[in-house]
Assembly symmetry: C2
Homo-oligomer: 287 residues x 2
């Protein structure tokens, strides 16, 4: 390994790892080394650019905390997270989208028809839909876990120091015998991803904004089915066509319309909604 040059060093590095032949680890490692080295050669990367890149990663590490994962944010704004969601979406099933940083395990169970708004200001919207398999069979008992920002674009978990309950604007629902879920909540507003750190610097350098289109977060699961992590967006709302983290898909956009009596028929609702939107989740079988 003394006769290495810029063309042979890549194989030398790959050979230095003694991984199980044909293993996933080997494939990932070799694929990553190939792309990183190709990038370096293609760009004729200078020493200064090299150290700038490594110092950028160092800075991302320094600002990260258990509550703020700057590398996930970096992945988000580079469309890496979106692409991973896409390559993992199963044909026929609801497309996946960003988990985001605000998911909480063990959010409270709520009865169907419950109101998540808790008296908050904003448009009160009835969110409803069905959970089915890819053959349109309802999935009774499917779990619909949702969380969202409020009408000012803030998650209650971000304002705990102002007396907010971190479990507010969250709920875990169980679909009824027809696979239906429904609840009322306030319409969320757009918000920015954190842009006071290295990723914010990158966005500014690239003349990009930090806004996310308004959305509801969901994790939907049912026995024997692939769990889906996704987001639901609203037609004709801001940033729907330039979401900072590339979370929007056409199939994940719903329409909000004024609520009519027929919309609430047969539903036991804690509050009377101003508006209604429908979104059906489709789960693919495991494996």
């Amino acid at each position: 390994m003394r006769d290495i040059n810029q063309f042979t060093v890549t194989q030398a590095v790959k050979n230095s790892f003694k991984t199980e032949p044909g293993s996933r680890f080997e494939s990932l490692l070799q694929g990553f080394i190939d792309h990183l080295h190709d990038f370096t050669r293609e760009q004729n990367l200078t020493q200064k650019e090299w150290i700038d890149i490594l110092n950028f990663l160092y800075d991302c590490g320094k600002i990260s905390t258990p509550e703020r994962h700057e590398f996930i944010l970096l992945s988000d704004v580079l469309g890496f997270s979106a692409l991973v969601d896409m390559v993992n979406s199963k044909g026929g099933a609801t497309e996946g989208s960003n988990l985001g940083p605000f998911y909480l395990d063990a959010a409270p169970r709520k009865a169907l028809g419950a109101d998540l708004s808790d008296g908050r200001e904003g448009v009160l919207v009835l969110v409803k839909g069905k959970v089915t398999d890819t053959l349109h069979n309802p999935l009774p008992g499917a779990i619909v876990d949702t969380w969202q920002a409020d009408a000012s674009g803030t998650y209650p978990i971000q304002e705990q120091d102002q007396g907010q309950d971190k479990y507010d604007l969250r709920g875990v629902f169980e679909a009824d015998a027809d696979g239906r879920y429904y609840y009322t909540t306030v319409l969320p507003k757009p918000y920015t991803v954190p842009y006071d750190g290295p990723v914010g610097k990158l966005l500014r350098a690239g003349n990009r904004h930090a806004w996310r289109a308004a959305h509801l977060h969901y994790i939907v699961r049912a026995p024997g089915m692939n769990t889906i992590t996704t987001e639901v967006f609203f037609e004709n709302t801001e940033y729907i066509d330039n979401d900072a983290v590339f979370g929007v898909r056409r199939s994940l956009i719903t329409k909000i319309v004024p609520a009519k009596p027929a919309d609430t028929e047969g539903l036991e609702l804690a509050k009377t909604p101003d508006a209604v939107c429908n979104f059906d989740f489709v789960l693919a079988p495991e494996g």
Copy 2:
């Protein structure tokens, strides 16, 4: 940007950056996005692999300090640093190699012939050579800045808590009228890169060792010439053919032989060496 899929998202991400057309920043950003996305598609990266990668970077950030840059170490063991050195080496000039983490600005000036060993145990070796341009013209007054580990593979800067002076085993020499430099020192020994962190985990997972071949570090500069950062290695020493950071090049290997009277003729030396090695530095003109 709602009709994105795994094949169109890459261009959408590139379009989201409004960089100066044709700028270096644009080229680097677009090249990086292309490679990262290609990697993701080729590997069909799973969500778990994705978060494992991001958490690995998070862990690298957490262990990093101003004295320990885990991202540089990661770059080193993946051959990224070596490749950057290679693409920046100028034809005809001495090849570049790792700067490493132990360089200190403002190391003390020493007279030619000085002894850096300061009574340390080990083989006392006369290191000498010439600094020339690519046409073999000597470069009088060229600056040869060197630093190294001791005969146990440790840099004095690592043992300051044991009373060592961080400037020990370092020297900044000025080449004489013939472009010659010479000094005595102890022969350094191999040592390991830090492997108690995430990069160490990666090395173990890939069944790789953490040893560096023994080496002397150099930064060599002269007015109007490209500065060279490199390392000099010794023939027939351990790890010379499997250095953990891919620093060795055939052109950077010197031989150590017993010192004969002719070797020290005309040199004013503070100590009488056991052995001698020769290494000439060749600098290319700037630009």
